[in-house]
Symmetry: C2
Subunit: 210 residues, 2 copies
Amino acid sequence: MDIKPIRHARGEATRQAILEAAETVFADVGFTTARLEDVAAAVGIRRPSIVYYFSNKQELYDAVEEDIFASMHRVALGGIAQHAKPIDRLLALFDEWLDFLVARPSAARIIQRLVADVTPRAGNPTQFSNVLLRDVETVVNEGIATGDFRPLPPMHVVNAVGSSSLFYVCNSKQLGSNRSYDAADPAELESFRELLHLLTRAAVAPERPG
Amino acid sequence: MDIKPIRHARGEATRQAILEAAETVFADVGFTTARLEDVAAAVGIRRPSIVYYFSNKQELYDAVEEDIFASMHRVALGGIAQHAKPIDRLLALFDEWLDFLVARPSAARIIQRLVADVTPRAGNPTQFSNVLLRDVETVVNEGIATGDFRPLPPMHVVNAVGSSSLFYVCNSKQLGSNRSYDAADPAELESFRELLHLLTRAAVAPERPG
């Protein structure tokens, strides 16, 4: 009897459980404070079992960050591909970012921490986020080329519009108990999405609104 | 000869130097990793001299955060007061935030870290930031009351528009070497400010632009 496939499946499940627990720990306390022991405890395994999959904290963190940006990039591409008009492609991109971050607030916090760092990723801050930034560049530059968008730096669009979903998700409990909200509440989410669409259109519109 | 006033002035200067060094250290590495030794070294004094002014790390951090939000609130009020029309008051508010954060990027990073935290300030995340949030509420609600603005949640305006200046400042070196910029460069700053104004107007405009 060959039990290798079963062993392999079990190993993959453990690896995935470690990644998910690690994402929560890194999101909650940041890279420096996070300990492999806390991740192990959350999964219900011992520290050496983590080291079997990820040889140290940096490797584990890198796997978490890579997974966040690769997953976000994948859903964004899926959304973009469903549309032909530049504005619809840009709205789809930001819609996918918003839905992804609302469903995975730990990812939102990790990205916020990455932005706050002064020397992120030892001088290569976009090792994993570059795929996302390229998506925005591609869609914005397409729109500029067709004349659907006014000429503007794609990174301005990231900073001024794309970033808002991170704040929407992370700030739900940070603005005081009298102002707290549930970012996943359908009415709240649609109200924010409406504003996000309005701002996306305004940012790239060739003619300035009165 | 009474030397008390001189002593007092010297004490104030030291206290201020500690606060400034601490802001940089907390911005660079975050609260947990920051050490009073690093702050002392940056000021050129010994650790016990810090404890004379701030009894522990939390007290020092609180003084830094309080000063950031109080200063930002003060310049915002000054900007708002120069205008009568709601839209001009809101633009002035965000202009002051932008200029403040560009001039003091360490403050931008500390606010970014505060947004990323899951349990900031032991359950009272707005202990010091509340003055800023109230400014936005006041100006947005005034505009809604006069009919200059459409009805919308002031915190949506914070998340979707006000927050973008944090990203503009913090992301200058985080988007890859081929996309890096100088947030304080006058042309870059005015280009971003133009977009910030356009988005602020779009967010609150009573009629949706085509």
